[in-house]
């Protein structure tokens, strides 16, 4: 008799965003976890409701209608744990990305070392660094104090001092932080997360502990060369929960009901990517991409180690940061197939900023939003590379071997044609070597990541069973050649015995259709020193690829992509790329 790892716990995954609240139910069917149904409602975090629980209640009500399951009791409260009559759920996992980003100040000793680590730590959650202080900034204690009071942060992250290293300098930086906290008054006192030299913990505790907003965590920079964010990330997350709990009505109740608390989506993404990076090919990384209105989140995992970047400044329309006003219109119009005046483009962006939930009604406006998605992905990747130097992207920036790339975000999952989503990802991320693009159509990955702490089997099985969409397999060898040169030869062996030999030329984009349920074996031979990531440049080999929405995309346009300055030629190039993916559709 086979051993079952299934604990038979049902899961309600809640995803509370600025615009939409989603409730998704998972339960055991035929011995495996499956997605049972999903309900949506408008979020009620914002005025005039100011209570996120109303949106949760409506989304769960919708879920009840769809699934026929009873999840709310007579007082309209979520039933957890489940009852013998089958009503309710055993586990609730909640991710929340609603509300403005946290206002934070980063403090360190050396600008390039501990201050960078404090900023890297803050980049793992939905926060905006409004100021930073460090020992060499030439500011007096008085200046630092005044700056902190003016910035009115909700959170101050203090790093500095390697283990066994600087103490007096760290205490000097803490003087301004302590004074600012003391003088802020209880109503606006910032939370303080200390992630510096652990030898100072007692002194920090005695100096700042009485203010009631101090959290001590492990040193993020134990040595000059090593950055350790993992443990501090958990403490940061808990501090963020406390801040949200105090400022967001309804948060506390949902937080208490949820296994592990109500967490930021980046936390769930990180756990999913970490799990998969252990399970998949150890020589390749796993990437998670969540592109939303409030922020773009990137997570890369390699052999169980993860790098996370949450970039509110690169959300598709973050009204709290007015980020679209900073978008270069020249960069944006680069990706459009039609001429548009800078004035019209700016007006469109401003309208999107004011109405982040609104949708494009014309073909042109849709193209502008997809161009914006490309820019935000490129910017986020650039920032991740800058902030996390160990990330492993070379110069020029080329993604390391990654398999798969998991993608969430309505701009890509609710798009009219899958080829449009693939083009945004190919242009925005420029994946290299051999990878698979997977879409999180139901926005469940972050929630499953949170649930994985309590029930990892559920997270793995729920991902297996048709909840994710395999968008395409991508083959993008890295190298340089004259356009039109054959740089890749392939022999295709289909399941029905049919074989085909194909040559692929540098500068072009190709699509080989391969439907769901089909598989194909490809023998690939790169030429002219092109690198497929199979050991070294010029080495080929066999790969077995599964069918997907688009099949196999062979991207030989170059890494990085060519810069085409002449507008007409560029527009033709973009149209040709789109046509290549839509051919055979």
């Amino acid at each position: 008799m086979p051993v079952s790892f299934v604990k038979a716990d049902s899961l309600l995954a809640l995803d509370i965003g600025n615009v939409t609240t989603r409730a998704t139910l998972f339960d055991v069917v035929d011995g495996r976890y499956r997605l049972i149904g999903s309900g949506e409602a408008s979020s009620t975090v914002n005025a005039p409701y100011h209570d996120l629980s109303e949106g949760v209640h409506r989304a769960v009500e919708r879920l009840q209608q769809i699934t026929g399951r009873t999840l709310l009791d007579e007082e309209a409260k979520l039933i957890c744990p489940s009852r013998p009559d089958g009503s309710g759920v055993d586990l609730i996992a909640t991710v929340i990305s609603a509300g403005p980003p946290l206002k934070a100040v980063a403090v360190g000793l050396l600008a390039e070392v501990s201050l960078e680590s404090a900023k890297s730590l803050l980049a793992t959650t939905y926060a905006q660094v409004v100021e930073h202080l460090y020992l060499g900034d030439q500011r007096s204690l008085q200046d630092r104090l005044n700056l902190l009071l003016r910035a009115q942060p909700e959170l101050i992250v203090v790093a500095g001092g390697t283990e066994g290293g600087a103490e007096r300098a760290v205490l000097r930086m803490l003087e301004a932080v302590g004074l600012a906290s003391l003088l802020s008054g209880a109503e606006s006192r910032p939370y303080i997360l200390y992630v510096g030299n652990s030898a100072l913990r007692n002194q920090v505790e005695s100096a700042l502990g009485s203010l009631g907003t101090l959290t001590l965590s492990s040193n993020v920079r134990p040595t000059l060369e090593v950055e350790h964010l993992d443990s501090a990330k958990l403490d940061l997350m808990n501090v963020c929960r406390q801040i949200r709990s105090a400022k967001m009505p309804g948060f506390h109740e949902i937080d208490q009901l949820s296994s592990g608390g109500a967490l930021p989506p980046s936390f769930g993404w990180e756990r999913i990517v970490r799990m998969l990076s252990k399970a998949y090919d150890h020589r390749k990384g796993v990437m998670g991409v969540d592109i939303g209105a409030s922020a773009t989140t990137l997570v890369i995992g390699l052999e169980g180690k993860t790098t996370v970047g949450v970039f509110p400044q690169y959300g598709l329309a973050n009204p709290y940061l007015r980020n679209l006003e900073q978008v270069s219109l020249k960069d944006l119009s680069y990706w459009l197939t039609f001429d548009v005046s800078p004035e019209a483009l700016r007006n469109t962006l401003l309208t999107k900023q004011i109405y982040p939930a609104s949708l494009p009604m014309s073909e042109e406006e849709l193209e502008i939003e997809l161009a914006l998605a490309r820019i935000m992905l490129q910017n986020s990747l650039r920032e991740l590379r800058k902030r996390f130097r160990h990330f492993g992207i070379g110069e020029p920036p080329i993604l390391p071997p990654i398999e798969p790339i998991l993608v969430a975000g309505s701009v890509l999952t609710r798009i009219p044609r899958w080829s449009q989503a693939a083009m945004v990802l190919l242009d925005g991320l420029q994946p290299s070597y051999i990878t698979t693009l997977v879409l999180d159509q139901h926005h469940i990955l972050a929630g499953l990541g949170v649930a994985a702490a309590a029930n990892p089997v559920l997270a793995v099985q729920a991902m297996d069973f048709g909840t994710l969409l395999n968008l395409a397999s991508v083959i993008a060898p890295v190298g340089k050649a004259r356009p039109g040169t054959v740089v890749l030869k392939a022999k295709l062996s289909y399941e029905n015995g049919r074989e085909e030999k194909l040559d692929f030329r540098y500068g072009a984009l190709y699509r080989i259709p391969l439907s769901f349920g089909q598989t194909l074996q490809m023998h690939l031979q790169p030429l002219h020193g092109f690198d497929l990531g199979m050991g070294r440049a010029g080495i080929g080999g066999r790969v077995r690829l599964a069918g997907s929405a688009l099949g196999i995309l062979i991207d030989l346009r170059g890494r990085p992509l060519p810069l085409i300055r002449e507008p007409k030629r560029r527009q033709e190039w973009i149209s040709r790329n789109v046509a290549a993916l839509e051919d055979h559709s």
Partner: protein, 352 residues
């Protein structure tokens, strides 16, 4: 589906929180009637702090210096008041470099809280104080006109409304800004020229209410010394056919133009309030409404951005737009013989 409401109301009850930027003192009482210029509350703006190193000033060790300290935390000092000393034959002393309050002392150092500029929060519009908010301000109630916008440059002012555009659809340019505009809240159609905003600042005017503004002028508008409110959209965008006549019909009346940024989380919108002298209050209108057939709505995205119509049908299931997007949609009648299908997320309910 419940959505938020945009108000272009000729007569409604308006209740608004008027809050200090920092904790301070509330100067009014519940039930008090206030005029627009009356101060509701006052506070000190964020003070500066100065660190005085009196140990170094006296030329002694920090520990010794404390023996010569002449002040205590909480004491108010004037500039040049004695802080510490005298020490030695030369009778060295340290005096306060500024006026302020002693916050902390010890180990040869003193933290002085400088006297901050005070901030007076005016009522902005005439009304009745219906609730006090401890240390922060009050909720004011009035009855009158309410017109809400989509963008504001973060400033607020009161003044009389003057119609500046020649025609509801004609661009407001610097040539329209004459003596009539001085110290008034101007009603204009739209602005696409920087010179218009700059001339308005020179006149000066009290505020500007527009249907649209060219996006490229946003950074200029943010620097103007008067409030600017945009009602409908960005670009050469005349004001909608409800808000413009409503505001124009109140020319000469005192208005409060609060061009605060739109903050959905905190429920703040840029708006114009015109109190009317009525004894009886109409029933207050809601900030949310059910999206339903017959509701008046405004479309927020191009090519119909700013157009107002009426919902004729909420389409069941999903509808495919011309660009291929599959959305929940409604059929909206824009004119006698003009209908459009719009995603419902692009619709705002208008209460008028």
């Amino acid at each position: 589906m419940i959505v938020s409401v945009t108000h272009f109301q000729p007569l409604t009850v308006i209740q608004r929180e008027r809050l200090l930027p920092f904790p301070g003192r509330v100067l009014v009482r519940k039930g008090q009637r206030v005029s627009s210029s009356e101060t509701l509350a006052e506070c000190d703006l964020i003070p500066g702090f100065v660190l005085v190193d009196y140990g170094r000033g006296l030329g002694v060790s920090p520990q010794q210096a404390d023996e010569y300290l002449q002040v205590k935390p909480g004491m108010e000092l004037e500039k040049n008041d004695l802080i510490a000393g005298p020490v030695g034959l030369m009778r060295r002393v340290v005096r306060s470099p500024y006026a302020g309050r002693v916050e902390l002392t010890g180990e040869g150092q003193l933290l002085l809280r400088l006297r901050a500029k005070s901030f007076a929060l005016s009522a902005g519009f005439s009304g009745t104080v219906i609730e006090l908010i401890e240390n922060r301000g009050a909720i004011l109630q009035t009855v009158g006109v309410l017109v809400q916008g989509i963008w504001g440059n973060g400033q607020a002012a009161s003044g009389s409304i003057v119609v500046a555009s020649e025609h509801p659809e004609a661009e407001l340019t610097e040539t329209h800004l004459d003596q009539r505009a001085q110290n008034a809240i101007l009603l204009g159609s739209y602005v696409t020229r920087r010179a218009t905003l700059e001339k308005a600042a020179v006149l000066p005017i009290r505020g500007l209410v527009l249907g649209g503004i060219e996006g490229a002028l946003i950074s200029v508008a943010e620097k103007m010394p008067y409030p600017i409110l945009v009602v409908d959209g960005f670009g050469a965008h005349p004001m909608n056919a409800i808000a413009y006549p409503l505001l124009a019909s109140n020319e000469g009346r005192e208005a409060f133009l609060n061009a605060q940024s739109w903050d959905a989380f905190r429920g703040k919108r840029p708006e114009v309030i015109i109190p009317l002298p009525l004894e009886e209050y109409p029933s207050p209108s809601s900030d949310t409404a059910e999206l339903a057939v017959g509701k008046r709505v405004r479309i927020c995205r191009s090519p119909y951005c700013g157009r107002i119509g009426t919902i004729e049908q909420l389409l069941t299931g999903t509808t495919i737009l011309p660009n291929g997007l599959s959305v929940q949609a409604a059929q909206v009648r824009l004119a006698e013989d003009e209908w459009v299908v719009s995603p419902i997320v692009n619709l705002e309910v208008i209460e008028a």
